[in-house]
């Protein structure tokens, strides 16, 4: 049982959690929903005791275990060793000893995971997710909090997870499930709490509400109308590569980056791979240039700031000071300008430098490769990115969109391919994809 009263948590100038009161009872399954940045993860970190609230009180019975969205596993160690890490109490033991203990813990959790001598690096993403869950359950918490647990699971694995959640709740554990996927929420939760901008804006029993009202509560305005897709573009198209994260998307994007240096590449991880934080906006924008001309670079940066509505103090501001969404705009500005201003570069881009690998049956040579371009962005920034991509396609560019967000894929794509364990499916129309997607993502032929 957890009782949060008037909890507030601030990071710098942002109030991530704003005067939230929430109670979670033993044996119930509560879903905490909201858009990215609504404060769900922060609130649960406070509930689990990982973060201290700046204001308000927390009353908790027993331990709370939070299973993070990002894996906290040591890849070089085995499953058994990772489990042993969270189990105090053995001093000297043989490898076989900890393997036996691991198998016992797995059996007790009710989740299936074989081969405890395997290194985590060899596991599939779904198996790693299960390992994180087993780790948490093995500590017998009174409250189990799962942060976006299904983002890397196939539909079948998701069902398995829901069975485990119901069993745990039946045994008296309080289960909290953070998600932004409404259909799943309705499949398993008894009570649903909606957060937006750090506050709880709606709370209801699952049977008393529906997806539409929840969606309205999650977003400031009514969700955007689906656009009419212009037919017969001059050669431009958007192909979406969808799949559960960890099935080769990162490798695909990296390979395309190396094979098509003339194309525009928007990396998945904008803080690590996109922006050089210590350089200015102008310098970041100029990074692909052949010559450094300070005055021209500055003028160009000012134009880009205006064109892409980048919120910055000026072209000489350190790129690392910008917010995530604005950093993404800088990357877009740099990359999209390559095809826009230099149509001859598009020609160049269509000529690959190396023969593409055999498992890459793209059937097109992309001029723009965008990997997870709206990850972590708010609604306004996401809309902006989608507009830019559509505009480029309308101008004739062939775009490869790699995304784990099915909504995004269906909103933008002319054709969809599913990636599973590094291999691509055939090209599907959006309608065909909608039918087969569950099957394809799970790797069923």
């Amino acid at each position: 049982m957890i009782h949060l009263a008037h909890v507030t948590k601030t990071f710098g100038a942002t109030r991530a959690v704003d005067d939230v009161s929430l109670a979670i009872a033993r044996g119930e399954i509560v879903a905490l929903v909201g858009e990215n940045g609504a404060g769900k993860t922060t609130l649960m970190r406070v509930a689990a005791g990982e973060l201290a609230a700046d204001a308000g009180t927390l009353a908790r019975e027993g331990r709370a275990e939070l299973v993070h969205q990002h894996f906290m596993l040591v890849n070089e160690l085995t499953i058994a060793e990772n489990l042993a890490l969270t189990h105090p109490g053995f001093r000297f033991t043989t490898r076989r000893g900890i393997e036996r203990e691991a198998e016992a813990a797995i059996a007790a959790s009710g989740i299936e995971l074989r081969g405890v001598a395997r290194r985590v690096a060899e596991l599939s993403v779904g198996e790693r997710s299960k390992l994180e869950l087993i780790k948490a359950i093995a500590r017998r918490p009174a409250t189990l909090i799962l942060d976006e647990p299904t983002s890397v699971l196939t539909p079948a694995e998701t069902e398995e997870l829901f069975r485990v959640m119901r069993r745990l709740a039946g045994e008296g554990t309080a289960v909290v499930f953070i998600s932004h996927k409404l259909p799943e929420v309705f499949a398993v939760a008894q009570r649903i709490v909606v957060m937006r901008n750090g506050r709880v804006v709606a709370e209801s029993m699952a049977q008393d509400t529906n997806a539409q009202s929840l969606a309205n509560a999650m977003v400031d305005r009514a969700t955007a109308q689906p656009r009419d897709r212009a037919t017969g573009r001059a050669g431009g198209e958007i192909v979406a590569i969808v799949g559960v994260a960890g099935n080769g998307q990162t490798e695909l994007a990296a390979r395309l980056r190396d094979e098509q240096p003339g194309a525009a590449h928007i990396p998945e991880d904008r803080t690590r791979d996109g922006i050089v934080a210590e350089l200015t906006i102008a310098e970041n924008l100029a990074l692909r240039n052949a010559r450094w001309r300070p005055r021209e670079a500055r003028a160009h940066a000012e134009r880009m700031i205006a064109r892409y509505s980048i919120r910055a103090r000026g072209p000489l501001q350190r790129a690392g000071d910008l917010s995530g969404g604005n950093q993404q705009k800088v990357i877009l500005a740099r990359e999209l300008e390559r095809t826009r201003c230099h149509p001859e570069r598009s020609e160049e881009a269509s000529r690959p430098t190396r023969a593409p690998g055999p498992s890459l049956t793209l059937g097109m040579t992309p001029q723009i490769v965008a990997a997870e371009p709206t990850r972590g962005l708010d609604i306004e920034a996401t809309r902006f990115v989608h507009e830019q991509l559509r505009a480029e396609a309308a101008n004739g560019a062939s775009i490869l969109l790699i995304t784990s967000d099915l909504d995004e894929a269906f909103a933008l794509a002319d054709a969809i391919q599913v990636i599973y364990r590094g291999r691509l499916s055939e090209r599907l129309t959006p309608a065909e994809a909608a039918e087969q997607i569950g099957r394809l993502m799970a790797g069923v032929a």
Partner: protein, 270 residues
């Protein structure tokens, strides 16, 4: 050629004890996720403090303790900067080497007037300790104990390790202390057993060679022993080659250990 090799073996085993102890210490530290470039300075400092204590107390055992104390002082400095202040480990290590080099030269010159005969180490106890006991203990500790498991986890993925609620800093400090113990003995042995006292810059790069051997041995105990054995043999061959007067110039032989170490780092690995 082979008889030269065979004759060099006993010398190699003894002469590479300081190196082996340093390799063993650095192995633990690197397994915890740090790299201590200052191991050279640590060894040099230990050599000086061992000599100072041995001279004033006329006791070898206390001399060894003095060596360990000197190494611990350097470890404390490194730890405060690299662990507590999260400073760059390479810059910190380099600074420590300079500090030890300049500092030991300065102090040694100051106490020149006090220099007396340094007691010599007579027992052979250190040999089996370095080549047998410590490797066994380290192996068991790293791979068969919960402490070792946690230490390795800390080194592989500090973020995940911290998420288990444990302190990365505490494990690294522990690793550093173990290294100081071993490197303290290493410096003491170098000065008290292999030489007859302290000399400026007497470590001559052994610390860097130890670092290279840890990497060459892929951070395992077996690799450490193998690497040190190979290296020790090559180094000992120097003397044998000189004595055999094969016409290889003296100075090039002096370069041999470093070239061999470079070559070991150039070996193709899977």
């Amino acid at each position: 050629m082979f008889d030269l090799l065979a004759n060099s073996i006993p010398l190699a085993i003894v002469a590479s004890i300081p190196l082996l102890l340093a390799v063993e210490g650095e192995l633990v530290v690197q397994r915890s996720g740090m790299i201590n470039l200052g191991i050279e300075g640590m060894m040099l400092t230990a050599a000086l403090t061992a000599v100072l204590v041995a001279q004033t107390t006329h006791s070898i055992v206390l001399g060894f303790a003095g060596g360990v104390a000197g190494a611990l002082a350097i470890a404390a400095l490194f730890g405060v900067l690299a662990i507590a202040l999260r400073a760059d480990q390479i810059v910190t290590g380099t600074a420590i080497n300079l500090l030890a080099l300049g500092g030991t030269s300065f102090i040694y010159r100051e106490i020149q007037s006090l220099v007396q005969q340094v007691p010599q180490l007579r027992t052979d106890a250190v040999l089996p300790l370095a080549w047998i006991v410590i490797p066994l203990v380290l192996g068991a500790m790293l791979w068969n104990s919960s402490f070792g498991l946690r230490l390795r986890a800390c080194g592989e993925n500090a973020e995940a390790f911290a998420a288990t609620g444990r302190s990365v800093a505490r494990y690294r400090w522990t690793a550093l202390s173990i290294e100081a113990l071993l490197v303290g003995m290493s410096g003491a042995y170098l000065a008290l057993a292999l030489s007859s006292g302290f000399a400026e810059n007497m470590t001559a790069g052994r610390g860097f060679i130890a670092l290279s051997i840890v990497i060459f041995g892929r951070w395992t105990v077996k690799g450490a022993l193998l690497g040190t054995a190979i290296f020790g043999l090559a180094a000992a061959m120097q003397y044998a080659l000189q004595a055999a007067n094969r016409g290889i110039p003296f100075h090039l032989l002096l370069a041999l250990p470093y070239v061999v170490t470079l070559a070991s780092l150039g070996v193709r690995r899977r």
